[in-house]
Symmetry: C2
Subunit: 243 residues, 2 copies
């Protein structure tokens, strides 16, 4: 018989700790990302860097690149990072500590990020309850709520999951609800980085959010979702004031 099987004995058999995946449009920004990761302990022997190549042509859209890179990733943990992210003072050791903390404290964790909306806040407050620590266009080393924290939405700029427990979606709130439907949980982690993004929330963003609210209405009737871009009412046409 010429067919031979590969017998797999352990649930986790990866040599690499992290697969850092990015949708890359700008070589200049991405080189800054890579430099900052190299400066803070990421090496070719502990991590791989996968880039969905949109440098010259738009080969991937915001919804397809997660799936493609996840299917290529070999690390124990898969990171999805915008190409305009830079590490500042925390690196490989701190990120691994965050991942190990999640593994140790909640086996049901499926996704984690650096900014998100607090899970199931009781009060019907007008402003979303957030958990975050980040440097971005809104400020240096700003924070809200406590971190780590269980959340129901995540900012897409930097997210992490286990390769053997994938959750598929590239929209942060969608990813958290998919994790919930899989019986798992989402968290913020205390991993300080800089996001140089513009946080654009134009017409296409509002259209995506509207489709999202309609999609999940039947599954989570009456649920209000805390997100870093305002409260989303699932199912209904209503939106929170100011959003």
């Amino acid at each position: 018989m010429t067919l031979t099987a590969r017998y797999i004995e352990t649930a986790e058999s990866s040599d690499l700790t992290f697969s850092v995946c990015s949708l890359v449009r700008s070589q200049e920004k991405y080189d800054r990302l890579l430099s900052s990761f190299e400066r803070l302990g990421f090496t070719p022997s502990n991590s791989e860097f996968l880039a969905a190549d949109n440098r010259h042509v738009n080969r991937f859209d915001g919804y397809s690149w997660h799936k493609t890179l996840l299917a290529e990733a070999r690390g124990r943990f898969v990171i999805f990072s915008h190409d305009d992210v830079e590490l500042i003072d925390q690196g490989y050791a701190e990120l691994l500590a965050c991942a190990n903390w999640l593994d140790a404290n909640d086996p049901l964790w499926l996704v984690a990020g650096v900014a998100g909306g607090v899970w199931h806040m009781e009060s019907r407050r007008r402003r979303p309850a957030l958990s975050l620590r980040i440097s971005d266009k809104f400020g240096e080393n700003r924070s809200a709520g406590s971190v780590p924290c269980r959340v129901e939405s995540l900012d897409e700029c930097f997210m992490m999951m286990r390769r053997t427990r994938p959750v598929i979606s590239s929209y942060g709130p969608d990813l958290c609800l998919q994790a919930e439907l899989l019986g798992g949980r989402a968290y913020t982690i205390d991993f300080h980085l800089r996001h140089n993004g513009e946080a654009v929330t134009g017409n296409s963003f509002r259209a995506i959010r509207r489709r999202f609210a309609i999609k999940y209405g039947p599954f989570f009737p009456g649920r209000r979702l805390n997100t870093v871009n305002g409260v989303i009412e699932l199912g209904g046409a209503r939106r929170s004031p100011g959003n």
Copy 2:
């Protein structure tokens, strides 16, 4: 800079067509599986065979092996097959034709199998509406309904998905509902094989089904699910007669 990224240009970059994954308890049965696949066109250059190794020790349970092997798979399509399956007269070419038919006819397909319960039957019939073609302990080359067909549950003995569109779960009906929650669909395909399984439906099976019905009740209130092992009422304690 020592860190270099791998730039990925296409959504689908696999050299292998199929990753055939099995939870292997019996070497003897699995060797028959491999022989039948080899006889019908599967080669090391078009397919890989991954075995979650339970031959000597129970390293994997029925819920963990899908996740582990999916994370290792490199083929364009991932097959999850019981180790007691044997091909009869259809092989590589026919299975690829089924996969290509799904790709061409419904881009939203996420999982496919050889036996399942018809999707959203209107009538409140007592017996589930099935779609299947299979040889097993109940008969040779038996069939029900039309195949291919959109389904809401699948028999776990043989299932297929795209590596870049994974759905996580190892219980056939659960897999179909997860596909639905992801915005996708499940199908039966006309791929005739022999399943030598015993189709045991004892206490542990009933416990799994009860947990499953309770889990999904809030997401699909009032839904009745056609499965090859009877109708499941999601959410409620009621069960169909005879089940």
